[in-house]
């Protein structure tokens, strides 16, 4: 690599008790953090474990901690994050580590289910499409929250997740908020019950790390606040009783 411009990169290796390993990769004009990781795997250390799929920011598989911030690496240009020609790349926080840059996302998706982050069919006719004007307030709220790529960035950034291991976390609650705003849903009260159980939305302290880091600019803080209001209203009306 003599004469070529290079980029220094420290990459987490091993499990939770691992360490950083340093590499030098050629600096390119167009280069994402995922490209850097790929370069290391292809040319410098063939067993470097990492995860990606779509390479364009839709699958949410490639999130890692880059210079201390969780990010989608396939859409993060190196020039935007390198500090003095260096990068530090670690796995996401708050998820069990498998090896190197790969975490086990199972708890993340289990909580998605616990938050009732899914649709439950309502009574409407199955052979027609419900007329739902896009600017109806509920629909607008659902639409604002729905385009989550379940990358886990917010989950990794949220300190409450680190402090309480049963906390459902921003993404799952954000999904529950979208589900609750879906007027076609058959059991909307069930969602409020789910997010009011132990580890539910009331544990959020509005840190807003989720909204600050979400790569697709969603605002889980806002969604969670919505759930807090809706669930308290339901609680006062006695609807949350089992």
């Amino acid at each position: 690599m003599s004469g070529e411009k290079t980029l220094g990169v420290d990459i987490w290796r091993g499990g939770a008790d691992g360490r950083y390993q340093s590499f030098e990769v050629p600096a390119r004009e167009n280069q994402t953090v995922l490209d850097v990781v790929t370069y290391v795997q292809r040319h410098l250390d063939s067993a470097l474990a990492y995860r990606f799929a779509c390479r364009v920011g839709v699958c949410g598989s490639c999130a890692m901690t880059v210079n201390g911030r969780p990010r989608w690496t396939c859409r993060t240009h190196v020039s935007r994050v390198a500090k003095a020609g260096r990068l530090t790349i670690a796995p996401l926080q708050n998820l069990p580590l498998i090896r190197d840059l790969v975490t086990d996302m199972t708890p993340f998706f289990d909580k998605w289910q616990r938050a009732r982050g899914r649709f439950v069919p309502g009574e409407g006719p199955r052979d027609q499409l419900a007329p739902v004007p896009p600017d109806k307030p509920e629909r607008a709220a659902a639409s604002a929250a729905i385009e989550c790529i379940n990358c886990g960035v917010c989950y990794s950034a949220c300190d409450v997740v680190a402090w309480r291991d049963d906390y459902l976390g921003p993404a799952a609650l954000n999904r529950a908020w979208a589900a609750w705003n879906d007027v076609r849903d058959g059991d909307r009260t069930g969602i409020l019950k789910a997010v009011s159980a132990s580890g539910g939305c009331h544990n959020c302290h509005t840190h807003q790390s989720c909204a600050a880091h979400c790569p697709v600019s969603l605002n889980p803080t806002f969604s969670i606040a919505g759930l807090k209001r809706a669930s308290i209203k339901a609680k006062l009306k006695g609807e949350l009783a089992p």
């Binding site: 995922l34 240009h77 499409l129 639409s143």
Partner: protein, 588 residues
């Protein structure tokens, strides 16, 4: 080292095909033990998630399934299996209602709350249902949520490596998998297996599909003795990003609407060239634009990096930034200014129309094996309409789920595996650990260039023959290449090796089929045979594996079971889609 697991139904892959199959089978019989195995994470790998444009379905009162059918057949240059195409257009109607009413997808509406259907290239009616330009995320996330909620076993980061036949030759016994995380082998014995690994033309220098796709399913099918059809039919999308060496974003799509709304394609000297090729200029159809761009670059008139510029700035950078927000942001994240500057692009391999031969109930020639989605062949013929891809995977995935549950209800049972095949296949997958370490990377680079240069957008006999020779040599070198690290747990380079093996094998079928088809149709263009030939005598190519991994090429006459060339199901019209280029809002 070999763990064994028994399940009623095994589903491979979690794109539209795999997820729908699992949900349908579970619905048909909730007592079934269903397992899904996927190379990545459930719902987070594969291309269904990447669908931007949308989903074709005839819903409007003035539209009809006959019209959708005719568009599909004419677009496919009379090559599709008509029964499959018919099942597609019919099933799409049912599927879109299920996606909305049972899975919870919400597709874009008109202001009055009715469904919005947009125009898409090559269709005689605006019938593409979508969710902004992120339709795939909506579909797959909603499907995955339903799967998580059900009692369905998930084997994530499990790679299927081989179909294991029954010892008594009665059909398929199960599938050999590698647990990517632990590196351990797992044999899953199942009464029925759905293959939904999604094909994917990732053997081309420039390609759009997700990085986990490597034609594994087709390669496994070939080794299990199945016949692939239409393998020469690889669809290229005109505008893939060109970002330079060692970049993952190279090849990823810039949407078609950019050209549709008036974007310019410019050669290295900054001149427009499309009007030299077609009166519609940049708005000509995908295949014409792709070919023109390829010819320009080949003639040495490309950009310094060997691409073509796309320019939007003359439409007003602010307007572009607003109208194509997602694309502009995507480019900006990668360091390009799409709204105000020139971005280098090239055609990029997008979709494989070909795949494993199958019937309208998704059965294959191997008893117990079902196939759906991009791994299957015959639905689209020579060309896939934008919006018919995700319809294909979801429609047939559901059909397969029902068919598998039904077969089990009819008494299908476990078959004993052929232990010798099992052992052989484990050995094959472990082969690189026993070899002298080599440069796998240069092999992949060679394959990508080879397929791009010699079996790509413009084909000819001489190049295809060279391509086949080099592919043979490449497979020998690949087989002799070992890994430098003995780690088996989450070793991405081991999986690169396995990917490459599948890709080289399937590349051979593409080159063989391209050599065999001596005409030019849809996605297949032979410079030495530029005519399409008579539609009445249309034949489709077939490839299967003979002894010693040699490929046997053949062809079959297309049975025009529903409509014959020159006829149409639509009164007073030929059913042909308009020749005019798509309106601005069309995407891929």
């Amino acid at each position: 080292m070999l763990e064994t697991l028994r399940t009623d139904i095994l589903v491979i892959g979690t794109g539209g095909a795999g997820l729908f199959a699992a949900l349908y089978a579970k619905k048909a019989n909730p007592d079934l033990d269903i397992t899904i195995a996927v190379k990545g994470l459930v719902g987070k790998s594969g291309c269904t998630r990447m669908v931007q444009g949308g989903y074709n379905v005839a819903l409007a009162a003035e539209d009809s399934i006959e019209r959708h059918f005719m568009d599909t057949i004419v677009g496919g240059k009379w090559l599709p299996n008509q029964d499959l195409a018919w099942a597609l257009v019919n099933g799409a109607v049912k599927r879109i209602h299920e996606l909305e009413n049972e899975m919870g997808c919400y597709f874009d509406r008109n202001p009055d709350g009715t469904l919005h259907q947009k125009a898409f290239a090559g269709q005689s009616f605006d019938r593409t249902v979508h969710k902004g330009d992120l339709t795939g995320i909506e579909i797959i996330n909603r499907l995955a949520e339903q799967v998580w909620a059900r009692d369905i076993r998930r084997l994530e980061e499990h790679r299927a490596v081989a179909f294991i036949p029954a010892r008594d030759g009665s059909g398929l016994s199960g599938v050999l998998l590698v647990d990517i995380r632990s590196g351990a082998f797992r044999f899953v014995q199942a009464k029925a297996v759905l293959l939904g690994a999604g094909g994917g033309p990732t053997m081309y220098r420039y390609h759009t599909p997700s990085g986990d796709k490597a034609c594994d399913g087709m390669a496994m099918g070939l080794r299990a003795g199945l016949t692939l059809r239409d393998m020469e039919m690889v669809q290229f999308h005109p505008t893939g990003i060109l970002a330079g060496d060692d970049t993952r974003m190279t090849g990823t799509i810039l949407e078609e609407g950019l050209r549709g709304s008036g974007g310019y394609l410019l050669d290295g000297a900054g001149e427009r060239f499309m009007f030299n090729y077609h009166p519609h200029g940049e708005r000509a159809t995908r295949d014409i634009v792709s070919r023109a761009m390829y010819e320009e670059v080949r003639a040495g008139r490309g950009t310094p990096n060997g691409g073509i510029y796309i320019r939007m700035a003359h439409l007003g950078p602010e307007k572009v930034a607003k109208q194509f927000k997602g694309m502009v942001k995507r480019c900006a994240d990668c360091g390009f200014d799409l709204a105000g500057g020139d971005v280098e692009v090239l055609p990029t391999a997008h979709y494989m129309m070909g795949g494993i031969e199958f019937g309208t109930d998704c059965r294959t020639a191997l008893e117990g094996l079902y196939v759906a989605g991009e791994d299957s062949g015959g639905v689209h013929g020579a060309n896939r309409l934008g919006g018919n891809g995700v319809a294909n995977s979801t429609v047939f995935g559901g059909i397969a789920g029902d068919a598998m549950a039904d077969a089990i209800a009819q008494g299908a049972s476990w078959r004993e595996p052929d232990a010798s095949v099992l052992e052989h296949e484990v050995g094959r997958a472990l082969r690189p650990f026993g070899q002298k370490p080599g440069n796998l990377n240069s092999l992949r680079e060679r394959l990508l260039d080879l397929m791009w240069d010699k079996a790509g957008i413009v084909r000819e006999e001489k190049l295809l023959k060279q391509c086949l020779d080099e592919l043979d040599e490449l497979s020998e070198r690949h087989a002799a290449t070992g890994l430098s690290d003995p780690t088996r747990t989450f070793n991405p380079t081991w999986h690169d090796w396995l990917n490459l093996e599948s890709m080289i094998l399937v590349s051979k079928t593409i080159a063989q089929a391209a050599l065999a088809r001596e005409d030019s149709r849809g996605a297949h263009y032979r410079s030495d045979f530029p005519e399409s030939g008579a539609f009445e005598t249309t034949r489709y190519t077939t490839v299967r594996m003979g002894d010693e991994e040699t490929l046997k090429i053949g062809s079959e006459a297309v049975a025009f079971t529903i409509v014959k060339p020159g006829e149409s199901l639509i009164e007073g019209e030929a059913g042909a889609p308009p020749e005019i280029a798509p309106p601005p809002q069309a995407a891929q």
